[in-house]
Amino acid sequence: MAFPEPKPRGPELPQKRLKTLDCGQGAVRAVRFNVDGNYCLTCGSDKTLKLWNPLRGTLLRTYSGHGYEVLDAAGSFDNSNLCSGGGDKAVVLWDVASGQVVRKFRGHAGKVNTVQFNEEATVILSGSIDSSVRCWDCRSRRPEPVQTLDEARDGVSSVKVSDHEVLAGSVDGRVRRYDLRMGQLFSDYVGSEYGRGCGAGPITCICFSRDGQCTLVSSLDSTLRLLDKDTGELLGEYTGHKNREYKLDCCLSERDTHVVSCSEDGRVFFWDLVEGSLALALPVGPGVVQSLAYHPAEPCLLTATGGSVQCWREEAYEAEGGAG
């Protein structure tokens, strides 16, 4: 599957259910791949964070220490640390091997929706419903954040980090991109708050495209939008799924060929990025697909509905093949 194909769409999409992990940690709030895609993290509503091998379906470690449900997690580039944020307003830095809490950053006034490491895992960026993004220093023992990005007018629902940018999507309908290199803040208005009747509404998830040229924005009007990162122009819109109430994830496939999004009707939608046409609506389960994660290099998808996580591969994939 590593070979480039002229029409990569059909066989490339992960639609074969390989494994179902029954996480046993209440509702799985988020599922995340680690940096190389060999492991995954599940954030449970029972205050635990679990590390899995999704292909084998084995539980590797349970990280407990949060005071409330865990809402997001991320792994560092060297797989040595994890960070997680949750309803207890704390951002926790974990040691992967020992399962111990390395640091606990407190300072957010509300629950932490999203956490991200920067490229070198020296800073944790956390977005919270207290409408701020806080940059926590992992190197020093400083208890307060290095910087607080409090430009958002409403809760920050999603944060992504590139090597020199911080992308923050907020419920106030704006996508803010803090460019550290240029020292500028680009604020793109995508939608308005509730009830204004126009625009996209609160932003639930954002992500960079893998080539770093575009940003994908999903909002509560059941629309995903692909924006040009530099100009803020609209490159594409993807509709068909249902996202009215919940904070659902979206992402791009491993080679930016498709746009993937959760849906409230229990399916995962795949759109062709260029055409904008619906490529696949993958039925996952009866409930809402809360979270998904796409493998960084292979057509492998993790979805989370209810208390379980599913691992999906392309049809041609053999369970114990070389790709595993």
């Binding site: 509702a27 920067n118 020296t122 126009c198 904070k247 009866p286 409930g287 809402v288």
Partner: protein, 929 residues
């Protein structure tokens, strides 16, 4: 033959031992294999070559110590019980018996050691000894000598001896004559250290007369200079207490009356034991002399005759050449002179200087004036304001210190201008001494007023805080302008008194408080008996004393409270009474503009705000990014001061704020600002949007053909398109309100685009959008007008007047209600999905809800019990209306419509899904294979 046989027998030479002849019937022995061959020691034990100390190969247990067990630890013995038994193990304990035997490495038998074993015998001595032995009365006695005397010589000795060196000689070529010693010319001055006094060498120099010409001499043996480094911290030539000297106290003080040099005394040292015959050892002199001890003669260094020689005898000269030379006249004449001059020990390697050092001239210190006092008196540094000074004076007087009168200014308290005044100089006009002097009179007055005001304010603040501290007897109404700390720092004496009057330490006891205030007043006047005056005469002496203490302490307290308080508090970040707050300089501007832009899908410039943003320096470092603003200390967005209570700071909709202020220009501005807002969307709008979409679609389809990332091409393409549209229909792009015909005019341009860029997918979308009736156009326009204020509605064109009636009613109530609901649920932003329960009930509920919703939407019934549903419904309604308004243009709305259909199909899909999927997969299967 026999001879032959014998011959052959003799000729044969046989080596080794022959094999034993085999006996009858015996099978030949097999050779013993290597591992079975054993070596045994004399006692029949296995001989081990693998010893810990004897080395060798491992013949027994390979890589072990030689035993089966290897290093078996000796069984544990508690050292607590057997502490005494623990013996220190030496190396011998680990040795084998063989090692201790004669040829082992540690033989126990006594042998001559290397030091005494003579390897190379001194031949000369040997011979002499042999001769002596031969002639000796007892032959063989030298054998004993041989055993005792060490005969080992170092290689160097041997080599030297072979080269003809004899003991006692120096090393070097033999010389014929000793070079004459150069006597220093008396006319030539020699600087530097004086030469050491000519010792024995000098004496040798003299005898060259006796030397025959053909005799060569070996060089004199020289004992090398002992350069022992000084590794202690003692002084030069310090020697520790010599027990000989210390105990007998003699050698140093033994005055040798008849020897010239001090070195002569050292010879006496050897004689001490002989002379005195005392026993050595410490005999308790340090602790005094006990009753049983006789020797009390040396406790005090007394001059005794024993220190002097009693016999006149010839002392040995110190050079060790006693006997044949060194008559006194050979010694240089200067030496005694020197020695007389310097009484003391000359250090090793030093000699007395021939010239005395020129003495430094010493100047006497200046004579002090007669009334000079060597103590400096510091004048008290007190801000000498009128009240303060009185207080200080009184306090210091009570402390018993004379107070410098502040009234009479000493010259130190005058500045240059005052001194000038006193001297009657005309003040310098040219340069002002202070910046304040450059200010105009008006400004000065203003500053003065400000100062007074702030002082007053600060005083009020202080007073209040102090009053609250002092048991809060009075409840003061908090004044709106809370005083200001920064100015409070600059408190003058005046404010201090106001504070003092408000400081009521004895508020509980009004009588006492009154007395205290009286005391303060008296003190202010500078009365020395301030305390005595104010005290109650009816009080007892003890009470009076106590109160005196209290008052003076209280007075001190409030004086110092100012400084202590100010040191504990920092300035407020924002001055409370300043009516300004810091707000971000750049605000994200008008949302409604953007909303309309979003609605038109005009993402890009219209929806983007760009601000200057300063990342934290540390953040830059952590991100490995150079600081974009290396010189600024700012972090975040630049901030400016704005009016604190200005409504504008808290309004996110500047529209409402700007409209009333700019009434006059509002209409124009409005017209300028948004054709998409004020103007009813015409066909043009839709066409523009279509165009926009087309452009995107076209771009995307174009990009699709290319494999690479499509985004790079996007900008130029879109821009190009925009540019073209601009050129074609500039008015529209400039957002000027234009008449419809113009919009119609631009239609062909769209076709032109389509002709150029059209692709099948675009056709689809546009065609489905075209299906939406044009009649909805106007409605959509009115929807937009919802967000405008009513003022704008007059601008709405008449063509849409009927729709405008609908517009303002709906959205106004909807928004607050939603807000409220959100608050009640305490959910901000998108909610989390519900916790999954494996019950069938839950599963069933979700589709039911969906159905409900749909029904509601369809029938638009307004009876809803659940708030959440109501809210959802409103959303739906909104969207629905939005759909109506945007239908033909917005993709989202079209998707909305498909959404509902989707959800419908979804419910069917729950049952039908798997077949569908199967079908799809089936379809794909052959393609893949």
């Amino acid at each position: 033959m026999a001879a032959l046989d014998s011959d052959s027998d003799e000729d044969l030479v046989s080596y080794g031992t022959g094999l034993q002849p085999l006996e009858e019937g015996e099978r030949p022995k097999k050779p013993v294999p290597l591992q079975d061959q054993t070596v045994r020691d004399e006692k029949g034990r296995y001989k081990r070559f693998h010893g810990a100390f004897s080395g060798g190969f491992s013949a027994g247990y390979f890589n072990t110590v030689g035993s089966k067990e290897g290093w078996t630890p000796s069984s544990f013995v508690s050292s607590r019980q057997n502490r005494a038994d623990r013996s220190v193990l030496g190396p011998e304990d680990f040795m084998d018996e063989e090692d201790l035997s004669e040829f082992g490495i540690a033989p126990k038998a006594i042998v001559t050691t290397d030091d005494f074993a003579s390897k190379t015998k001194d031949r000369i001595r040997e011979k002499a000894r042999q001769l002596a032995a031969a002639t000796a009365p007892i032959p063989g006695a030298t054998l004993l000598d041989d055993l005792i005397t060490p005969a080992k010589l170092s290689v160097g000795f041997e080599l030297l001896r072979k080269m003809g060196w004899k003991e006692g000689q120096g090393i070097g070529p033999r010389v014929k004559r000793r070079p004459r010693r150069q006597k220093p010319d008396p006319g030539v001055k020699i600087y530097g250290c004086a030469l050491p006094p000519g010792g024995s060498e000098g004496s040798e120099d003299e005898d060259d007369d006796y030397l025959p010409e053909n005799v060569t001499f070996a060089p004199k043996d020289v004992t090398p200079v002992d350069f022992t480094p000084k590794d202690n911290v003692h002084g030069l030539a310090y020697k520790g207490l010599d027990p000989h000297q210390a105990l007998f106290g003699t050698s140093g003080e033994h005055f040798n009356l008849f020897s010239e040099g001090p070195e002569g005394a050292s010879n006496l040292l050897g004689d001490i034991g002989v002379n005195k015959g005392r026993k050595l050892g410490i005999s308790g002199q340090a602790f005094g002399v006990g009753a049983l001890e006789e020797e009390d003669d040396d406790i005090y260094a007394t001059e005794t005759l024993s220190k002097y020689d009693t016999v006149l005898k010839d002392e040995e000269p110190g050079d060790g050449l006693y006997g044949w030379t060194a008559p006194r006249q050979y010694k240089s004449q200067k030496e005694p002179e020197k020695d007389l001059r310097y009484i003391g020990k000359i250090l090793d390697g030093f000699s007395l200087a021939s010239k005395p050092l020129s003495s430094k001239k010493i100047y006497p210190p200046p004579e002090l004036p007669r009334d000079y006092r060597p103590v400096h008196y510091f004048r008290p540094v007190v801000a000498a304001t009128s009240e303060n000074s009185h207080l200080l004076q009184v306090l210091s007087e009570s402390a018993g210190k004379p107070m410098h009168d502040p009234g009479t200014h000493s010259r130190h308290q005058l500045n240059a201008s005052k001194r000038g005044e006193l001297l009657g100089e005309t003040p310098i006009q040219g340069s002002a001494t202070s910046v304040l002097e450059f200010l105009s009179q008006k400004d000065k007055e203003r500053i003065k007023e400000m100062k007074q005001a702030t002082d007053l304010k600060a005083a009020q603040l202080k007073a209040r805080s102090l009053a609250q501290n002092a048991s809060g007897s009075r409840a003061q109404p908090p004044s709106p302008d809370v005083g200001h700390c920064s100015q409070g720092m600059a408190l003058s004496g005046g404010t201090a008194t106001t504070r003092a009057s408000n400081f009521k330490p004895f508020a509980k006891d009004p009588e006492k408080q009154k007395r205290y205030e009286e005391f303060l007043v008296n003190m202010k006047r500078g009365q020395k008996d301030a305390l005595e005056q104010c005290l109650d005469p009816s009080m007892t002496e003890w009470e009076r004393g106590r109160e005196r203490d209290e008052f003076s302490r209280a007075a001190l307290l409030y004086v110092s409270s100012h400084s202590t308080l100010s040191s504990r508090f920092t300035h407020a970040k924002e001055e409370d009474d300043s009516d300004q707050v810091e707000v971000p300089r750049d605000q994200e501007n008008d949302v409604s503009d953007k909303q309309s832009a979003v609605k038109m899908k005009m993402f890009g410039k219209l929806t983007r705000d760009t601000f200057e943003w300063h990342p934290d320096k540390l953040l830059c470092k952590r991100f490995n990014v150079p600081d974009p603003y290396p010189d600024s200390t700012l972090v975040g967005l630049p901030r400016v001061k704005r009016d604190k209570y200005s409504v504008f700071n808290f309004l996110t909709l500047p529209e409402t704020a700007s409209l009333p202020t700019a009434q006059g220009s509002s209409e124009k501005a409005l017209q300028h600002r948004g054709p998409d807002k004020s103007r009813k969307p015409s066909r043009w709008d839709t066409s523009k949007q279509e165009k926009k979409e087309d452009s995107i679609g076209e771009f995307l389809s174009l990009a699709r053909s290319k494999v690479g990332p499509p985004q790079q091409e996007s900008n130029p393409l879109v821009k190009q398109e925009e540019h073209m549209t601009k050129s074609l229909s500039d008015k529209v792009v400039n957002k000027e309100v234009d008449s419809q015909p113009e919009g119609e005019d631009s239609r062909p341009s769209m076709d032109l685009f389509k002709a150029i860029f059209a692709s099948s997918s675009d056709e689809k979308s546009s065609s489905c959008e075209d299906e939406q009736g044009d009649s909805e156009d106007d409605q959509a326009g009115t929807r937009e007008a919802d967000f405008r204020s009513s003022q704008e509605t007059d601008l709405v064109q008449t063509s849409v007047a009927h729709a405008s009636e609908l517009a303002p009613q709906e959205p106004v109530p909807s928004f607050p209600i939603q807000k409220m609901q959100m608050d009640e649920r305490e959910e901000f932003g998108p909610r989390l999905p519900p916790v999954f329960c494996p019950n069938a009930r839950q599963k069933l509920e979700t589709p039911q809800k969906e159905k409900h919703k749909k029904n509601k939407e369809k029938h638009k019934t307004k009876k809803e019990h659940r708030r959440r549903k109501e809210k959802k419904k409103k959303h739906r309604k909104h969207k629905h209306k939005g759909k109506q308004k945007n239908k033909k243009s917005e993709k989202s709305t079209s998707s909305e419509s498909t959404d509902s259909s989707d959800s419908q199909s979804d419910e069917e899909g729950t049952t039908n899904l798997s077949p569908q999927e199967l079908l799809r997969r089936l379809k794909r299967l052959p393609r893949r294979q």
